[in-house]
Symmetry: none
Amino acid sequence: MSAIRLVDDLAPSSASAEWIDSILKGDCVAAMERLPEKSVDVIFADPPYNLQLEGDLHRPDQSKVDAVDDAWDRFESFAAYDAFTRAWLLAARRVLKPSGTIWVIGSYHNIFRVGASLQDLGYWILNDVVWRKTNPMPNFRGRRFQNAHETMIWATRDQNAKGYTFNYDALKAANDDLQMRTDWLFPICTGGERLKDEAGAKVHPTQKPEALLARVLMASSRPGDVVLDPFFGSGTTGAVAKRLGRHFVGIEREQAYIDAATARIAAVEPLEAPELASMTGKRAEPRVAFVSLIESGMIAPGTLLSDARRRWTASVRADGTLAIGSEAGSIHRMGARVQGLDACNGWTFWHYEAGGKMQPIDDLRRQVRDGMVAAGA
Amino acid sequence: MSAIRLVDDLAPSSASAEWIDSILKGDCVAAMERLPEKSVDVIFADPPYNLQLEGDLHRPDQSKVDAVDDAWDRFESFAAYDAFTRAWLLAARRVLKPSGTIWVIGSYHNIFRVGASLQDLGYWILNDVVWRKTNPMPNFRGRRFQNAHETMIWATRDQNAKGYTFNYDALKAANDDLQMRTDWLFPICTGGERLKDEAGAKVHPTQKPEALLARVLMASSRPGDVVLDPFFGSGTTGAVAKRLGRHFVGIEREQAYIDAATARIAAVEPLEAPELASMTGKRAEPRVAFVSLIESGMIAPGTLLSDARRRWTASVRADGTLAIGSEAGSIHRMGARVQGLDACNGWTFWHYEAGGKMQPIDDLRRQVRDGMVAAGA
DNA sequence: TCCCCAGATGAATCTTGTA
DNA sequence: GTACAAGATTCATCTGGGG
């Protein structure tokens, strides 16, 4: 894991996986352009915040914006930052799988430009997430609020992207059975976690806490996924990815950071599979057709089903439909019909009587599923 | 206070103050262009968010969410929204005093475009401030994080603006002698504060809580200052300004909103004394997610937890769930499961071993919470 | 009068698989 | 690509009615 490669060592559009679990040395746009397209599940990017850029940004694109009165010099530097941002976001979009998602972290210095560029390039924002710092640096001059948070944007490749990973059920279970919100609280990276050089100076000025990356990756990736970080720095993304059983690809220009990250990642012990298993909800369960309850004899044709309060009753037919009077349809359609709604989950709406009590037919589905698991389906 | 005037009633660049403490009816750009330049101390703007909603959304109980589908929130494209944004920000900049500041509130739909436009026009961002909602609407489909905050940008007119108002000491005193941070916690506007029409329907779809405006104005204005709100809506800015002894100017296009705001503001009693600390103070009990103990390294994945009498044992997984055999769930669910109960407080039920003794994981929560309290969670 | 429970609701870019 | 159907999904708070 975590061999270092120069960007030039990669054959263009390489289909091999030699770049997996490694750090590519060089400019992130050039490096991403050499990776295969649609090859990465998640991108986590912590781009430079500094707007006083010293000419190492790339090719300004031709996007033209009306200049405003006396703001020309300032606009010049914003334009340079925007061009830089568009270039790397465009390259990132090419390597991202259609079902992949991207995270970008920033502060008020740059995050608005990043967010606007994301939208302009066709990315579709899913959430902005606030990292609230338990221990932010104080504001020394007392002329502003204490800058106590940073902002992350989470986005898909397109507005209509389907199938992106979001481990909703695990996040909810991990949060006292409440939905995970967009405001997260973590300490900044200090103490033993903070990488220091021999002189005791911090190796990287903006090392992110592993806890932050852990929540990002637990939320939006699965074991075995490939996580790309185009501004790898001290390698937090790689360290957490390895620990959580994800693959990583880092891109970094400075050898000192690469060296520090390489050593750091080498020392990481991956967690075992049982500890990595993530809770899934009903969405991940195999589909069960209602008719299979009839075919298996769990429900006999002619059985009467009711809602929990017995306001409506329907009769099961051998073809797996429900009949009420002369109307018939799926358990969902008929559940919606009787309630006058557009939609209804028939599995939880309809009940059968067992020992004088009303039980949802979803219980029977569970038995079928358990049987499927036992049969190794 | 709060007479209504049509924009055309104002003489161009009027030096008189007839527009003070009134609502101007009309388009905000046209209205601002008729106000004297450099005449306003603070601008608070709550522009349309450009939500881009498509279909209907239903709650799990099939009730329909009352979405913001008003015509004023619909734009053709990002370009159209940007043009709109630049136009009103430019007009706002003209009326703002050189020592004045502007606040703009938005969500991820629009705030990145607003922030970039602010920077492009020469405004200088002082802070971005997050309004964390105690009671946000849930995510009903379970495909994203619960959208639990909105973002405000606070900026001066220029990079080199001098003398803007920031009541550092008052804020610090109101915040238990800690610097006021950039993450603020307030409930959304409901209950008696929410304006309703005769039919009981909300007057305005996005009425902001007065507590939020109170902190904004207490932080960045002084008694007697003029506060401009170019998207006045239901008049929260005016009501709070009047109560806090500030002057207001509202601009609003729709007569229904003007009528509601006028009546509302007329009923406001200005405050004499600083009974305001209570409005800006802290709130709410911090909640700790079990997963944060794992993310922070206090509990390693794979750790075994037991009840106090060691009758049952469960394994901690990296996603923040507990596993017993093939079953997994939250600390509460699994505590209930093993005991055959409907509910269980996992924090007090589950224990970890430390020095041969069983300690409840609630002890770890206390440690995390102590760290959170400093952050004003 | 007070408690309890059912119902309503809030700036929302809110699904996925198969034909 | 599109159409259709299966089916998964909510938290804090306030209001109002009944006991």
